[in-house]
């Protein structure tokens, strides 16, 4: 670490890993509710909302932490304002806390979700963006303060670098794409149309841009790879991500009441979406092969390369198999989508943020060597469990597609009878995943604070 102000990243990392733990605990409750709907005091809808909102928030917190580390380093100066960064951190934590309390209150008493100024007080009832309008506004303010702080830091030295530019471009795009989810429409079709702008252009647009920038940063930091070569490939990757991803949005507009031309637009562009992700895998391997000397932070590199691979497999392959309208007609709205969602988020963003933590935390803690064994243990527990979770959900999705969609059996019959074993196995592997996350969180708090076990 070169700059004191980079320490603020740790606040965000801590918040992120703790929320990650919460996300997995509620995820297991949700998985159990597939078997016993009344398993918990809160109904499935609230538990699922917590599971996914926790994920989104901890990944965002991780990205913010990573950015607070990267920007001073790239700009060669301290952060513009540490107090502002701290204020922004605590404001975010408080807002998120208030939103969570709101979800729980609404879950216990749905009548508390009253209408205030034409919008719901506790839960907007829109998937993923359930956070009420007052929280949306606070989140936007928080993100704007965060962007201001980083842009002002860049302007301090005006040392513009490619990683910095792409990272901030991705974050700005992210902030802008939150806005289409902030108004009410009477038509459910228009509602879902704009809602996909937010959801798709985040995860298949701005977040992938951020991922490409952080991947380039990590490869440089870990291996000392040539910045110019990394920058060139990063531009090609993000260029292709947006070329395929922006109009790939069309794959969400096949069946929601929008004109037929989206079948062509969505089918064509989204079929190409795996290409930039494959390029990132190649980029990671090519760079790693060019290593001179030994790599100290092997576990950091491990997570970095795994992120690239699972981004391609989860977001790319598991997505492309059901993206063509001819296939999607049968699989849309089934567990196939859930399987894709799990592996894509794990590969593209969970591993990315953990990689970033492993790459930057040693220097934030002021150590060069650290005990890496727990990092590997966490990786294998999480990855093997996630692969099996995805296999069980994919199996459930195939059974559902065949029996419900093709044969015409009832939804409840398929869910309760034919897919029961898939749900049971999912819970078991979910517990395996929880073990991995527990090891990870423990390692996060211990890293660099104990004598090295000499595994380096």
């Amino acid at each position: 670490m070169q700059y004191k102000s980079q320490q603020i990243a740790k606040n965000f990392y801590t918040f992120a890993v703790l929320l990650f733990l919460v996300q997995i605990v509620v995820g297991i409750i949700a998985a159990l509710q597939f078997i016993w709907p009344d398993f918990f005091i809160l109904n499935f809808n609230t538990i699922r909302t917590l599971h996914i909102n926790a994920l989104v928030v901890w990944l965002l917190a991780g990205m913010m932490g990573a950015t607070y580390y990267v920007i001073p380093e790239e700009s060669g100066t301290e952060l513009w304002s540490i107090p502002l960064a701290k204020l922004q951190f605590w404001a975010t934590v408080l807002t998120v806390g208030a939103v969570i309390v709101g979800y729980i209150v609404m879950g216990l008493n749905p009548q508390a979700n009253i209408e205030v100024l034409g919008t719901r007080l506790l839960n907007e009832g829109r998937e993923y963006i359930e956070a009420p309008r007052w929280a949306d506004i606070l989140i936007v303010v928080s993100v704007l303060l965060f962007l201001l702080n980083n842009f002002m830091t860049v302007l301090k030295t005006k040392k513009f670098t490619a990683v910095q530019g792409v990272l901030l471009a991705g974050l700005t795009f992210l902030a802008l794409m939150y806005l289409p989810g902030m108004f009410y429409t009477k038509s459910m079709v228009k509602d879902q149309f704009w809602w996909w702008w937010v959801v798709h252009l985040w995860v298949e647009g701005s977040w992938e841009i951020i991922a490409a920038a952080l991947l380039a940063f990590m490869l440089h930091k870990l291996i000392g790879a040539d910045v110019k070569v990394l920058a060139k490939w990063m531009y090609i990757e993000v260029g292709l991500v947006l070329f395929t991803g922006i109009l790939g949005l069309g794959h969400h507009y096949y069946w929601i009441g929008t004109p037929r031309y989206w079948l062509w637009v969505g089918g064509f562009f989204s079929s190409l979406e795996p290409i930039p992700l494959l390029l990132m895998v190649w980029d990671a391997f090519r760079t790693t092969r060019e290593t001179r000397g030994t790599i100290q932070n092997k576990v950091g590199l491990y997570y970095t390369v795994s992120h690239a691979i699972f981004n391609f497999v989860g977001a790319g392959l598991w997505g492309v198999v059901h993206t063509l309208p001819q296939v999607n007609k049968w699989t849309h709205g089934t567990q196939i989508t859930t399987a894709h969602g799990h592996l894509a988020f794990y590969g593209a963003y969970v591993l990315l943020i953990i990689a970033m933590i492993y790459v930057t935390l040693p220097s934030l803690r002021g150590v060069k060597e650290f005990n890496q064994s727990r990092g590997y243990q966490a990786f294998w527990w999480m990855t093997i469990s996630m692969v099996f979770i995805v296999i069980t959900i994919t199996g459930a999705g195939m059974v559902q597609t065949y029996m419900e969609r093709l044969m015409g059996l009832d939804y409840v019959t398929v869910k309760a009878s034919y897919n029961l074993w898939f749900w049971i196995f999912r819970v078991i592997f979910g517990i395996g995943f929880l073990i991995g996350v527990t090891i990870l969180v423990k390692d996060y708090f211990k890293l660099g604070k104990e004598p090295s076990a000499g595994r380096i």
Binding site: M188, V189, Y235, G239, I256, P259, G333
Partner: protein
């Protein structure tokens, strides 16, 4: 390719794609309303009920949502509205093993919600969800008059026979073993609550006497 040309390709290529997306969005916005019936105040009130109770937290609509409970895009096409209303008000009074809890939805909210779902079912979704191919291929294979009526009045929307059909109402695979009385079935079809007090099944009193007898005679053969 130099770094600079890669950068320019990224910036201008992305901007171009975004401009195309905006143009398509404007065009789509102009066309959406004509692909669905007009939205009345009641339908809009129903949509607000949908949001208030976070229905999408368990169900899907237009295929998007939580995959925990059935898709509701065509709910009013698949199930009688009388049934839907009773179920929404108190699911487990209608079906003991229902996963859905009683949410405290009021009568008016239920009516509005059903109006919204009815609007939803009329949206032109480019043919989604598709009709199951085996159900289409197997239709009308069994020629017994009672079975033909069973299909004509879409009884399998709510009732299963040998694993095929809905789960909203009781499974009828062995109904002939449980209730052997043809007259009971006729009274039940005409006015379900007269023999099953908390039934959510709508009245099928618009069937002719002959149809009622044929259907009842078919039901008692299911053993």
């Amino acid at each position: 390719m130099s770094t600079n040309s890669a950068k320019n390709l990224f910036i201008f290529g992305s901007l171009l794609c975004f401009v195309v997306l905006v143009i398509l969005t404007i065009d789509t916005m102009g066309k959406i309303d004509s692909r669905a019936p007009e939205i009345t105040e009641k339908i809009n009130a129903g949509k607000k009920v949908w949001h208030k109770y976070d229905c999408i937290g368990c169900h899907t609509i237009l295929g998007n949502g939580s995959y925990f409970a059935p898709d509701l895009t065509k709910a009013t096409e698949r199930k009688p509205k009388e049934y839907l209303k009773k179920f929404i008000l108190n699911p487990r009074a209608i079906k003991k093993e229902a996963a859905m809890p009683k949410l405290g939805i009021s009568e008016k909210e239920a009516d509005d919600l059903i109006a919204f779902l009815d609007w939803m079912s009329k949206v032109d979704t480019n043919g989604w969800p598709p009709k199951p191919i085996l159900a289409v291929a197997g239709a009308g294979r069994e020629a017994r008059p009672g079975y033909v009526l069973f299909q004509k009045y879409d009884c399998s929307a709510c009732h299963q026979i040998q694993g095929i059909g809905g789960t909203a109402g009781p499974d009828l695979t062995y109904v002939g073993k449980k209730i052997t009385d043809v007259q009971w079935h006729i009274s039940h079809l005409k006015d379900p609550v007269s023999v099953v007090p908390d039934s959510a099944m709508p009245e099928f009193d618009h069937l002719s006497e002959e149809e009622l007898i044929q259907l009842a005679e078919y039901l008692v053969t299911l053993k």
